[in-house]
Amino acid sequence: MQKFIKQTGLVAPLDRSNIDTDQIIPKQYLKSIKRTGFGVSLFDDWRYLDPGEPDMDHSVRRLNPDFVLNDKKLAGATILLARDNFGCGSSREHAPWAILEYGFKAVIAPSFADIFFNNSFKNGLLPVVLTESEVDTLFGLADAEIPIEISINLETQQVTGPNNFSASFDIDVFRKTCLLEGLDEIDLSLKDTDAINAYETRRAIEAPWLFRE
């Protein structure tokens, strides 16, 4: 898995709550059997004026000039800023794949939907939960004509930015370690092979019907 240690970059402010995974990556792109190719379709319905289909040449599509990611000043942004309940809806991991492939390394919001939050960590995308007022402050700063740059330091669990903005965030020890070291979760779990075998043996006696072929 991709490591995440520290990220300094431009902030793209997407001022909406309840951004669902259907908006992040619409269903027609889920027909793909690959893990790649989704970045160009991130926020497809908002980003383009014409309807998108998987096989088309997206470079010739008409961009929606009112959509924040189409603001040329924000080209190369690596941090996405949003409101409550980001990533709600379906379990599609295509959502963090699309966000990462677009170039974002982290998403900051006051809250995330559980499955999206979980899926992000598996791919090296850092979801950062800040308080509503901290997120408000960042939206205020990012509203200016000139885009802002902020830093996210996973080791110290700090977000810092212009106007002496500084905020700390919580993260599970396990998830933090996996991100900092880029660990493969399956390898880690297989270290517990003995425990899994022991569980199965014990459980097959307690509830044999679960283990009939």
Partner: protein, 471 residues
Amino acid sequence: MAGRTLYDKLWDSHLVTQRDDGSALIYIDRHLLHEVTSPQAFEGLALAKRKPWRLSANLATVDHNVPTENQSAGVQAIEDSTSRLQIETLDQNCQSFNVIQFKMGDPRAGIVHVIGPEQGATLPGMTVVCGDSHTATHGAFGALAHGIGTSEVEHVLATQCLVAKKMKNMRVTVTGPLGFGVTAKDVILATIAQIGTAGGTGCAIEFAGEGIQSLSMEGRMTVCNMAIEAGARVGLVAVDEKTIDYVKGRPFAPRAEDWGRATEAWTNLVSDSGAYFDYEILVDGTLIEPQVSWGTNPEMVTGISGHVPDPQLDDDPIRRGSIERALKYMGLEPNQPIESIRLDRVFIGSCTNSRIEDLREAARVVDGKCVAESVIQAMVVPGSGLVKEQAEKEGLDIIFREAGFEWRDPGCSMCLAMNSDRLGPGEHCASTSNRNFEGRQGAGGRSHLVSPAMAAAAAIAGHFVDVREWL
């Protein structure tokens, strides 16, 4: 020892190891797979030269991306080559890894959350996961069930476990009795409207109270199915006689020699009296009327006698902005009566509402009537081949067809519109599905979430009506 909740019991009985860093490994009894979220997981498994840990725990089917017409012509007949490849890829993966699969056209195939319970592959006390957020459905059986991402699909295939952190306990008590003509769908929509789309985030929700106990197993599945729309990955209902009666005799259910022990164990799958819940929510089930969503997320819901809200009356600027944006997208006016919303299409189907009781409920409303001329399309998509067969045995297909509904083959269909069943831009749809997000049922499409009976009545009237006046 303090009393434990149903969720606590399920967690405890599946805990493989608790690690020092706060994470845990929990064991997965049943893993359901489908074509959309599994190909990258099988690829990862093959690349790492790993094998499925316990083959018999896995059960696969195709549902999200299958056509709902002419399935008997086979996979080769699917016109969209990208869709065909995705379905063929699942077939190939199941063959090469030896995973049990119900292929397209097999009568046992259908929507993964319909066929799990139908086959008895979902049992009380199990942990059930699937790369689909509506896996919460299976919690109706007192099973710990939730959606996972593709990385976790691979993880479960490889280890039979998930890395997990214990959720919080929430109990939603729905008082009763429910009013005449009020269905499970209305109960869950009213609940989401009350607690919000993030109300259950981080929680396992146990649904309890007379309003839930009085529901059939299929109704309880409808309720648990949409726990995720309230932000909770897990929905649960305690095991009772209805649960055990439903499971008995199904193909994957415990055999005769195990049945007695299994049912004895299952009767313990209830929250102990005095068990601690982090959150307790009370929903007055007696006040619920048939529900209709007017906005672009599942908390934007009101009763059939209600009106579209006026954003100017909302003090919260973020919420006001959301309502304004939703009304613009939906093409609705503030204060417009719900009954005045006209429909272009009607969809009866999805993992929320495509089981036999749903189809019976809709057919009862439709019987002897005709779909309004202003409705371009009304379709019924049964949840599985077996549901379809049963409905045809009861003559429901004839009732629907004679009224002007299309009678389709099983699949997810217009719930997420991955196949060609979709809304056109600006079209309003009365839908028995679970999500009314922008573009969910087709780019620019406007979805209104309702029960099967309400969808059926809307198809006949051409606009929303209070179905209770028709029963």
